[in-house]
Point group: C2
Chain length 383, copies 2
């Protein structure tokens, strides 16, 4: 029997995932050509339904305009009908909707179905944090892998060379099928047996991206307010040289963030491996998200407005309906930190949360160093 | 007896190192205030000698204009006289000059002298590669640590928040003294017991920076030559969104480079630790160098000229007398790879070398993926 794939979600990344998958199902004999894609129905300004337009034009005109998804992608506004008969489910909705979606699907899924989550984030409940793959796997009673990586969706849509990592827990054969289904010559997928490590990478990097985004404008403010004439001269020399100033600081913030990602992941899941952070889901995704992602962009605007406009307002204005994961994740992670008495050990994560709720000014992100300089240790680096 | 420090070198980074050190020697009672700095004498366009101008103005007008080094920095054009009486030597000259400098100093150094190398690169000899710290330590018979990190000198000169890593082999007390001597509230230094790992990071990242630099213009060429109308539309959408395109690819190249750095370091020195690559000398320095360093800049110009002007020419034009380490390091590393039959295992390092000598076109850097896609493995990521 051929494998049949449904993509549960159709935002920017969901649409790109459908395109990647559809290019492979027509090519590989072990897969049914048709890829169904569940679309949260919206009415477009033209009065048409989004699903109708996708099925007529093969294009998600709202979330991925200008890119053909493949004629074998079929949009369906009803999630239960979309998953019917599928034995491979790709979950790619904003994480705050995942619990509701899973509940709707209980009892509608075949028992040998394999799931994969492309969702960044986690659910925090009274009993502790719950990864999205665990939520899917527990609610639906299916095995669930994850796919994360340096994946700015618009770039993959343009078929630029990128990489991704599949994290799996036990079923290596399923992981091989996912690698087949997603991989293309321009999208290199490899798999590692560390589902929690891979998923934590995809979740936590958004917090670090907010920290990196806050930096840009803070530096400009510092330049204007306190530099001497000599320093101003030097800045001009820097610009003339084509050097971008502040890269040291940005790199330092990214590194401190990476260290907190590793530490937090391992404290929650002792099975998490250091080596996972050298995969695409780790260091590469962190870099690309801090350089060009939406968390960075909104944080940049937040710092520019000196905190006078909230993250919620800026998200609504700047993201065209897309959701900002970093602020929500920072809040959820902070709940775990304070619940377990770990706040002091994670200065970057805690500071991002405090800034995002307005308790600290954006400039607090460059003051991480002050507390750290008192703590220098030899042979036992603290961060 | 107070510790007495000499900085052997006075380029851009050497001058910044002297500034950092001089701010600490006046503050700490265990150090003699005066910091001597050996300057390779040059005649300035004004007709004055560089050392005279530095000693008159406290400024290295050629390599760090606009920044006061501290009145306790004394420039000396004679290397033997500069090191006289010093028990802490900071080596910070381009790596191709290090062997000559060390030979001059034989017999001129006290036996309890401690050295630290800020030099990126290595010497390749018939008997194999020799790290600069080993060259110093063997030629002069002294213990030698290294200091590497995310250190774009101009940014540290402006006192922007940055970090660095001291790598030491046995003498932990010496490492603690170096951390004291270099650390400031804006320059956070920590130490790890892995001198080879730290030094390899500082050496090899320059090769990766060349790879990253080549990318920028290649993307522009691809955009112009082969994108369809739909893709052009999408690119415009990308620009309007403020997204920088190509970050996925850049992150992928940086990650593949990091993996090759780790693999090469461990194959040469089995004692090298994975954890070192999470320090400032590893991932942070790699990021900052790929975003803003001189190797990136010259590679960018090389790709823009489609390889029609050599790296040597561009170095002379763009770097105002500074040396380009990446091309030389790529050559030296390639000699090790081909000598030991490791070329196939290091596609990025080998490709950068081939491009830098004109054997492959700049665009070869984005073709790494083609050979890799044939090699996908589950549970055993190859790169």
């Amino acid at each position: 029997m051929k494998n049949k794939v449904t993509v549960v979600g159709s935002g920017n990344w969901g649409s790109v995932a459908a395109k990647l998958i559809a290019s492979n199902t027509v090519r590989l004999s072990s897969f049914d050509d048709e890829v169904r894609m569940w679309v949260f129905e919206e009415k477009l300004p033209s009065g048409e339904k989004l699903t109708d337009v996708i099925n007529r034009t093969n294009e998600n005109v709202k979330y991925l305009p200008g890119i053909k998804l493949g004629k074998n992608v079929v949009a369906d506004p009803d999630v239960e009908s979309a998953v019917k008969g599928a034995n491979m489910l790709v979950f790619v909705s904003p994480h705050q909707f995942m619990e509701g979606i899973c509940k709707k699907l209980v009892g509608k899924i075949g028992k040998d179905t394999e799931g994969i989550s492309l969702v960044k984030g986690m659910e925090v409940k009274k009993e502790g944090p719950c990864m999205i793959s665990t939520l899917i796997s527990k609610t639906l009673g299916i095995n669930c892998s994850v796919l994360m990586g340096a994946n700015i969706a618009n770039e993959i849509a343009l078929e630029k060379f990128s990489e991704a990592t599949v994290g799996y827990s036990k079923n290596k054969e399923a992981a091989e099928k996912w690698v087949q289904l997603f991989g293309t010559p321009y999208f290199i997928v490899s798999a590692v047996q560390d589902v929690e490590g891979v998923e934590m990478c995809g979740t936590l990097k958004n917090i670090v991206a907010i920290a990196a985004g806050l930096l840009h404008n803070i530096h400009n403010l510092i330049v204007v307010s306190s530099f001497t004439f000599y320093k101003m001269t030097q800045i001009l020399v820097g610009f003339v040289d084509g050097m971008e100033m502040g890269n040291n600081t940005k790199a330092a913030i990214m590194r401190i963030g990476l260290k907190e990602m590793i530490k937090f992941s391992k404290m929650l899941f002792p099975s998490v491996k250091d080596s996972t952070f050298f995969e695409s889901c780790g260091v590469a995704d962190l870099i690309t998200t801090c350089l060009g992602g939406r968390n960075r962009k909104v944080a940049d605007a937040y710092a520019k407005n000196q905190g006078k406009r909230s993250f919620d307002q800026l998200e609504a204005e700047l993201l065209n309906g897309q959701k900002l994961q970093g602020v929500l994740t920072a809040k959820e992670v902070y709940e775990v930190l304070s619940d377990r008495g770990w706040v002091e050990q994670f200065p970057l994560f805690s500071t991002v949360h405090a800034i995002s709720i307005g308790r600290l000014p954006p400039s607090a992100i460059v003051e991480l160093g002050d507390s750290r300089s008192a703590n220098k240790q030899v042979g036992n680096s603290t961060l």
